[in-house]
């Protein structure tokens, strides 16, 4: 009974962590799938989401509203950046893209520091979710259960969108052969802008959701590494891979942190290296 409840609690913790990682990783995977490039600013946008969430929550008093507004603003920033800068770089090699999004990371990090200051900011839990439930006499924050539900619902909706709608079909087609889609009369620039904005918005959702449990801090922009580990493990550009990758990474982080707190990071990188050696394209990736 002891071990059973322990495993159950830790699994729930891992699932709530996986749900945060899913928002982070799936956006990166979608963007990579469409553009074949990595958005280095993903971690910075995740952080920006948390900070905008903080301000919205303070101004309106509602964290629920923050979960709506932060992704909208960050998505808009992503859209403008894609139209203003990234669009002109598709003909250059992938390094230019990586470097420009790195520059955006610097700008966002600096603007965030100027606007909100360096000390971490505490974001309150959304009203109605600040309670604790008991599972086998072990306390479990209600918020974590909410995170699991949110991750599950969001991943299902996005999956259905990609697999069952016409727009989703066009997105998948663009990721496979953008020139053919273009030749068949679809404006792929529009799809690229849209997907980039969607990916950025997803990162912001992750940021807002993470903020109450980790506080909004400048260090959040390093999350781009986590996001990338997820995408490497799951498979570059694969949406299902991103879900799978977030689950694996969350398990390694949760159980690793519990048993070997000092070595959890090493496990994660070892796992990534292992996947790269065995399947260079990632577990669910198509390219070898």
């Amino acid at each position: 009974m002891e071990t059973f409840s322990f495993i159950l609690i830790q699994t729930l913790n891992a699932l709530s962590q996986a749900s945060l990682l899913f928002f982070l990783g799936s956006g990166l995977a979608l963007i990579f799938g469409i553009m074949r490039v990595v958005n280095f600013s993903h971690g910075a946008l995740y952080m920006l989401g948390a900070y905008i969430g903080f301000t919205t929550a303070r101004l309106t008093g509602s964290v629920w509203l923050a979960m709506l507004i932060a992704p909208l603003i960050v998505g808009l920033i992503g859209l403008l950046f894609e139209i203003g800068f990234l669009r002109h770089l598709y003909k250059r090699d992938e390094d230019a893209f990586l470097l420009v999004t790195f520059g955006l990371t610097l700008v966002i990090a600096e603007v965030t520091r100027l606007v909100w200051g360096a000390p971490p900011l505490q974001v309150p839990l959304p009203s109605g979710l600040d309670g604790v439930v008991f599972i086998f006499d072990e306390p479990m924050p209600l918020y974590r259960i909410f995170l699991i539900a949110a991750g599950g619902i969001a991943s299902s909706i996005i999956w259905l969108f990609l697999e069952r709608t016409r727009l989703g079909l066009l997105i998948r087609a663009t990721s496979q052969n953008s020139q053919m889609v273009h030749a068949l009369g679809t404006d792929i620039n529009l799809i690229r802008s849209g997907v980039f904005a969607l990916g950025c918005a997803l990162a912001a959702v992750g940021g807002v959701l993470a903020a109450p449990s980790v506080t909004a801090s400048l260090g959040m922009s390093s999350a781009v590494i986590d996001a990338f580990v997820i995408v490497i493990i799951g498979g570059m550009g694969s949406f299902l891979g991103a879900i799978f990758g977030s689950l694996i990474v969350a398990c390694v982080q949760t159980f690793g942190n519990f048993f070997f707190p000092d070595f959890a990071l090493v496990f994660l990188y070892a796992l990534m290296l292992g996947v790269l050696i065995v399947r260079p394209g990632g577990l669910l990736g198509k390219e070898a």
Binding site: V100, F102, L106, V107, M272, P280
Partner: protein
């Protein structure tokens, strides 16, 4: 070709004579500049010549600093040998890192280097008994040179020693990239599949160049630790990797000289802007984006274009020289 050689000699003479004429404050800045120039140049071997973008170069820099700090604190090895030994140790450790990172290519490679860099940062913070945790190590002495030689440990002497390290490394790297080894690297940059098809084991070349780049970055880190008297985890943070990448791109990648100019530019902008405004990092980011978008060949690329336009006749002879044909490759 002649012109760039004359300019180079003039710059070297000016740098050697600088301690005679510059005030102490300026000398401190200049020493830091020489060290950062070495750091930036080392990254150029990877980014500029082999198209291996690294977001974890601070790892090598910080490792060099910590190794140098530990050697200086716990042994009595003279300063020049400590710096060389630290660089060598970083170079050897880098073989393992390079072996892992070159498992992947392109963006994945960049992210793996970032992961290793962050791993180093985490180790520096967590392994308190050896690294001193987040405070780092301080009070690093400069041990007297071989045969009780004390000149190198003075302010001017240390500057000249750092300058010697920079120039020795520069000439080594220049010889390396002009040798067949360097041609293979450039081949990898332009078309790795083709080089592979010609029968070269490109992975081995990549491991070699990454190790060398890390070695020189480690030397820069070791110099910095001796210069500043401390080593802390901040030296390993990914923003440092970002800064050195900015120096390479803004200066002009694939030229060795360009990244040094980039380091000068970076330090000047940092000092000028940080006097005027606290937001200098923001402007740095914007300047960086501007260079990537509109001047991918950097400052040196712009200068070369101007030179070429002015001396239209010498065009042919200039572009045949690899050290001046900065922007040639991406055209």
């Amino acid at each position: 070709m002649m012109r760039s050689k004359i300019l180079g000699v003039l710059a070297l003479v000016a740098l050697i004579l600088a301690p005679q004429y510059l005030p102490v404050y300026a000398m401190t800045l200049l020493t830091e500049l020489v060290i950062l120039a070495l750091f930036a140049m080392s990254l150029d071997l990877m980014v500029g010549y082999t198209k291996l973008v690294s977001f974890g170069h601070a790892g090598a820099y910080g490792l060099g600093a910590y190794v140098c700090a530990l050697l200086s604190l716990h042994t009595h090895i003279p300063l020049p040998f400590v710096v060389l030994l630290s660089a060598l140790i970083v170079g050897v450790v880098a073989i393992g890192i390079a072996w892992s990172c070159t498992m992947a290519t392109g963006v994945s490679f960049a992210m793996l280097t970032l992961a290793f860099g962050q791993l180093g940062y985490a180790v520096a913070i967590k392994w308190v008994s050896v690294t001193g945790g987040s405070d780092g190590l301080s009070g690093i002495p400069r041990r007297l040179g071989p045969f009780g030689w004390s000149q190198l440990t003075t302010k001017t002497g240390f500057y000249l020693f750092a300058l010697a390290c920079l120039f020795a490394s520069y000439f080594f790297c220049r010889a390396l990239i002009r040798a067949p080894f360097g041609q293979v690297l450039r081949g990898i940059r332009e078309n790795e599949m083709k080089v592979l098809a010609l029968g070269y084991n490109t992975r081995r070349y990549k491991i070699a160049v990454v190790s060398l780049a890390y070695l020189f970055a480690g030397m820069a880190g070791a110099l910095y630790a001796s210069f500043a008297g401390f080593a802390n985890p901040e030296m390993l943070f990914w923003t440092v990797s970002g800064q050195v990448l900015i120096m390479v791109i803004v200066g002009g990648k694939g030229t060795l000289i360009g990244p040094m100019l980039g380091a000068v530019f970076f330090i000047m902008v940092e000092h000028k802007l940080s006097e005027l405004t606290e937001t200098w990092g923001l402007f740095m980011g914007i300047i960086f984006i501007g260079f990537v978008m509109f001047a991918p060949d950097g400052i040196l690329g712009i200068l070369n274009k101007k030179l070429l336009r002015r001396s239209g006749q010498q065009k042919a002879s200039q572009t045949s020289d690899p050290s001046t044909a900065a922007g040639g490759h991406s055209a």
